[in-house]
């Protein structure tokens, strides 16, 4: 352990990111899920800003600010509004029960850590050891998308996956070029808007946001 203090804090935030991913996996309510997503965004923004400060990479400040505005303030607010409008704040029924999901989650974490170990050897950045955590966050978000049947948790899972990818980019390569990051942010935002239009459409058609109903849409 010869890292400086702010890099140790980056490590701590990385661990926090993973913790929040697990909390999201175990969360039964949509409102709680959105709050956790906002916290994840906050941890991500803080760690990005810290990496920017400790390495002098100025464009990372912009991406930290972008994360803060978009993922901590704008999107959670928007989600809360949708939930209120659609009146779907009740419990989310996961497809697999939560303890089993958590067990699968820990297997995924071990898998991700092992997978990231040789990759992080290749990377030259000071924060490379957090690559495993970033990968684990992506896989856990993916697991959440698989195990939830309602539409909003699935979209939040998708966004959490983007958080993980973003963290991987900062930890392994000090972030992508700013143009790419702006593009991704715009894509995600547009994606959320398009998906929210889908929410309303799905609800109008099936009277519920449960995506299981969509399995009926088969050609005979």
């Amino acid at each position: 352990m010869s890292l400086t203090y702010h890099l140790q804090i980056v490590n701590l935030l990385a661990a926090l990111l993973l913790l929040i991913s697990f909390a999201m996996l175990s969360q039964r309510r949509i409102a709680g899920l959105i709050t956790l997503f906002a916290w994840q965004g906050a941890a991500l923004a803080a760690s990005t800003a810290l990496v920017a400060w400790s390495t002098g990479q100025h464009h990372l400040y912009y991406s930290a600010a972008l994360t803060l505005v978009l993922k901590v303030i704008a999107m959670p607010w928007y989600f809360f509004r949708i939930v209120k409008k659609l009146d779907v704040g009740r419990d989310v029924e996961p497809m697999i029960n939560i303890p089993t999901t958590m067990l699968i989650g820990i297997v995924l974490v071990i898998f991700a850590f092992n997978l990231a170990l040789p990759i992080s050897e290749l990377s030259g950045t000071v924060t490379r050891s957090t690559l495993g955590i970033a990968l684990a966050t992506v896989l856990l978000a993916f697991l959440m998308m698989i195990t939830r049947s309602k539409a909003i948790p699935q979209v939040i899972g998708f966004l959490a996956m983007e958080n993980g990818l973003f963290f991987a980019a900062t930890s392994a390569t000090y972030g992508m070029p700013l143009v790419v990051e702006l593009g991704v942010a715009l894509d995600v935002m547009v994606g959320v808007f398009v998906l929210s239009i889908f929410f309303f459409q799905i609800r109008e058609t099936f009277d519920s946001l449960d995506l299981k109903h969509m399995e009926k849409l088969k050609e005979r």
Binding site: Y5, Q8, L12, A15, L18, L19, P99, M102
Partner: protein, 314 residues
């Protein structure tokens, strides 16, 4: 050496005497947060005094084990309180047991409590004992995992060395300990029969765990058990402080640091008690069948802490 033994005695006595005070503080905080008028902080002492002055009533078919168990439970908890460094680190008594033996001491007390609960043969006692065993057999591996995470950092399972590594060497942030701390919190809540796993102030047959086991006890036996419960809460708090907030615990032979250590200890306990009361107030008691999920999460967090240690801190 003789000062060491004196300090050891003083620390153990202090733990035994202060334990009901911590209980009183938690109850007071809880009452404040719930908008009730709070009982005085010395209420647990008064309860203990009242109980010690009563005559004990024991069922006809009680075996000697039933009379013996409260003393055994109290002795176990007093021993555990003596082992955990609260004010001074590395006292002469502490090499007697490492963290794994400490878990064993807690287990011994629990076995006696469960056996005594089943001894009379009432349905409540048996029910409580079974539930207690369900909760504790899930909590114990998680507790061990928490200790292993701390041991991996300090390369030792001896509590003094763990405290020494964390408190008195170069300061470092250990993300793995953050996970272990959350897990430890959940375990202590379960082990000390607090909300959300058990409610210490209920006698509702559907929900009670700990209270169901001690229903048959009265007078001095009950007093000893209540005192042991307070002592257990104190020991767990001291353990949590030693593992996760060890700054302020005096090094061995450093007499001048004692007053500061005492003040730090009291401040940390007050804070911990207030936080415990706050969390108890904002959370609801979960159904018994959710308890495995709760403790499974604690185990998972402890394992995650270990994994994080291997990834980030080696």
């Amino acid at each position: 050496m003789s000062t060491g033994i004196l300090l050891q005695l003083a620390q153990t006595l202090l733990a035994i005497l202060l334990a009901p005070l911590l209980m009183g503080w938690v109850n007071q905080c809880r009452a404040w947060l719930q908008g009730r008028s709070a009982p005085p902080i010395t209420q647990p002492y008064r309860t203990l005094k009242k109980l010690f002055h009563k005559d004990a009533v024991i069922a006809h078919n009680a075996s000697p084990l039933f009379r013996f168990a409260p003393y055994m439970i109290f002795a176990c908890m007093a021993l555990a309180a003596g082992l955990v460094p609260t004010i001074v680190n590395d006292l002469p008594f502490s090499p007697a047991a490492d963290v794994i033996a400490l878990v064993g001491i807690f287990a011994l007390a629990r076995v006696f409590l469960a056996l005594a609960a089943m001894d009379i043969g009432t349905s409540f006692g048996t029910l409580g004992a079974r539930r207690e065993m369900l909760v504790s057999f899930l909590a114990e591996p998680a507790l061990l995992m928490v200790f292993f995470t701390a041991s991996l950092i300090s390369q030792s399972t001896e509590l003094p060395i763990i405290v020494q590594t964390l408190a008195h060497q170069e300061f470092a942030i250990y993300p793995s300990l953050a996970f272990a701390a959350v897990a430890f919190w959940m375990i202590s809540v379960a082990e000390n029969a607090r909300i959300p796993v058990d409610n210490p102030s209920t006698h509702l047959e559907l929900t009670m765990i700990h209270e169901a086991m001690i229903l048959e006890y009265s007078a001095r036996h009950l007093a000893l058990i209540e005192w042991a419960v307070a002592l257990k809460l104190f020991t767990y708090s001291a353990l949590g402080i030693a593992l996760f907030l060890p700054w302020g615990i005096a090094e061995q032979g450093d007499i001048s640091a004692l007053p500061l250590a005492l003040v730090a200890m009291v401040a940390k306990l007050l804070l911990g008690g207030a936080v415990l009361a706050f969390i108890e107030t904002i959370s609801a008691k979960v159904r018994l069948f959710r308890a495995p999920e709760f403790l499974g999460t604690a185990f998972l967090l402890a394992v995650l802490g270990m994994l994080i240690h291997f990834l980030l801190e080696v």
